[in-house]
């Protein structure tokens, strides 16, 4: 990978990688881990093989390995998040504001549920939901067969639903990806 290609990859993928790490272990640790992800990527750039997976999945693979060393921090963060509805900055746009309020309401419930999952289950779920990786990309990240990634994701989703217990999915309606969700009768936190 040429220096120019690496710079382009850094510009394109740093923010998603940082956000993925930050969501899992918090911003304080994320700065170090995201920086180390790209430093490690530079050192290992000769080992990147596009035939084994995309550049994006290769970078997330490095990030995942670094985050694994901080599972205590992740667990601690989830326990904290499970107790508090986070304060969020609300944009002027009403629909966007509603979306952030709804997300904030969901945080404690989801954090509590995620905390009950195994590390592997949480990893595969968040790679899919937060990093936006497809099951085949997750397979490249975790260095497993695509079929294995599919089944792990499926089991992780089932485990999360189980952890959410009586969470009423019917109350939550999304008009589409990235659009405004609406709740019929939000009762979370009661």
């Amino acid at each position: 990978m040429s220096p120019e290609a690496f710079e382009a990859a850094f510009r394109l993928h740093f923010a998603p990688v940082y956000r993925f790490i930050s969501g899992r272990v918090g911003t304080a640790i994320a700065e170090d881990l995201a920086a180390e992800t790209f430093a490690a990527a530079y050192r290992r750039r000769a080992s990147f093989d596009p035939e084994l997976g995309s550049l994006r999945s290769w970078l997330f693979g490095i990030a995942v390995n670094l985050v694994r060393n901080h599972w205590r921090a992740e667990q601690h963060l989830l326990h904290l998040d499970a107790r508090l509805v986070p304060e969020v900055d609300l944009p002027d746009h009403a629909e966007a504001a509603d979306r952030r309020v709804a997300a904030a309401w969901l945080v404690p419930r989801l954090a509590a549920a995620l905390a009950q999952l195994t590390r592997d289950q949480r990893e595969v779920l968040l790679l899919h939901a937060w990093a936006g990786l497809s099951p085949s990309e997750i397979a490249a990240v975790l260095e497993v067969a695509p079929g294995t990634a599919w089944s792990r994701l499926s089991r992780a989703r089932a485990a999360l639903r189980n952890s959410l217990g009586d969470f009423d999915f019917d109350l939550w309606v999304f008009s589409g990806p990235g659009q405004d969700p609406s709740r019929r009768e939000p009762d979370h936190g009661r």
């Binding site: 850094f10 956000r19 920086a35 530079y42 997300a103 969901l106 945080v107 939901a129 989703r157 939550w172």
Partner: protein, 360 residues
Amino acid sequence: MADEIELLRLVGELIPEPTTDAWTRARAAIEAAKDDDLLISGMERAMRDSRAPARLAGRLGRRRWHVAVRWVAGGAAVLAAGVVALVAVVVPGSGHGSSGGRAVDAAYVVKRVNSALSAAGPGQIAQMMVTINNPAVGGGTTAATTVEEWSYGGRWRAVTYSASGHLVFDEGFSTASVYTVVDYRTRTWARQLRPGGAADLTPNPPGCSAVIGALPLLLQSGLPGGPPAGWQPATVTEALRAAVSCRALAVTGRQRVDGITAIELASRTDSPISETIWVSPGTYLPVRVVIRPPAGGQGPWQTADITWLPPTTQNLARLNVPVPAAFHRTPLAQAVAPIMQRIRAWARASTGRVRSRTSP
């Protein structure tokens, strides 16, 4: 109806974007990784050139040799020691280095010095003891004048002592724009905002010849009123950094300076000013600078011993120019006239030479 993935994605939208600090830290980490790469390639080349790896490779095998080099390159302390060893192996005249090896290693040291100076610029006070030996008529040198100098951001102070050790001038910028000068011989002082009139003291050529020429002027107790607006660099740190960045220097060896085995960087033979800078192998910050007239030339010979201080309250206080209570205030032009005279004479001798040697 939503599903669990949609809920996770919704919550994920609350995760903030990376801050400027996060981007900066990541870039710094990548740069450090690049430095490691440079060191590794330099070490491999140096060891190959000095025939050491042939023996090592015989014992460890090529693959394990790579692992060993990478392990060595991993630790900061070992890294510094490695560079010193590296420089020792490949400096010109050592008989071991190839020209490619010298280029890599000089580039590595220069890069580290550049980075160290970048970090020191805002973070540390450069304290210098400058000794100036002026050539005497008929050969030899006159008694040395010494100047104690501090440079920190836009602040700067220089205290000039006579050859007999008496305090002569105390001058400086307590802020970026307030200049104070105290003349201990006439027991007078002056203070005003950055005065005009200094622009005609020095040339303002673009490019590296300007920064190379600026360094001696900065070391020689600065200029009254500071350098003209728009003339960079404005601080000793920037001047050193620019001189290094301009590739005016090459690694030439090692020498003991104040108890440490410093890396020696000397100006190239085609440089209009003859400078030698010694940098600490641990911090890569300059610890001594010597400026001489070029071969066959006349002019002052300056040595600056540099100490890098943290910006504590006590150290920052050294940048203030105290005015003794019994001294009388005078117009600035009158107060700085003796300094201007000295600087103008020096500038005429030195920068004139820069001009003539750098002009096409």
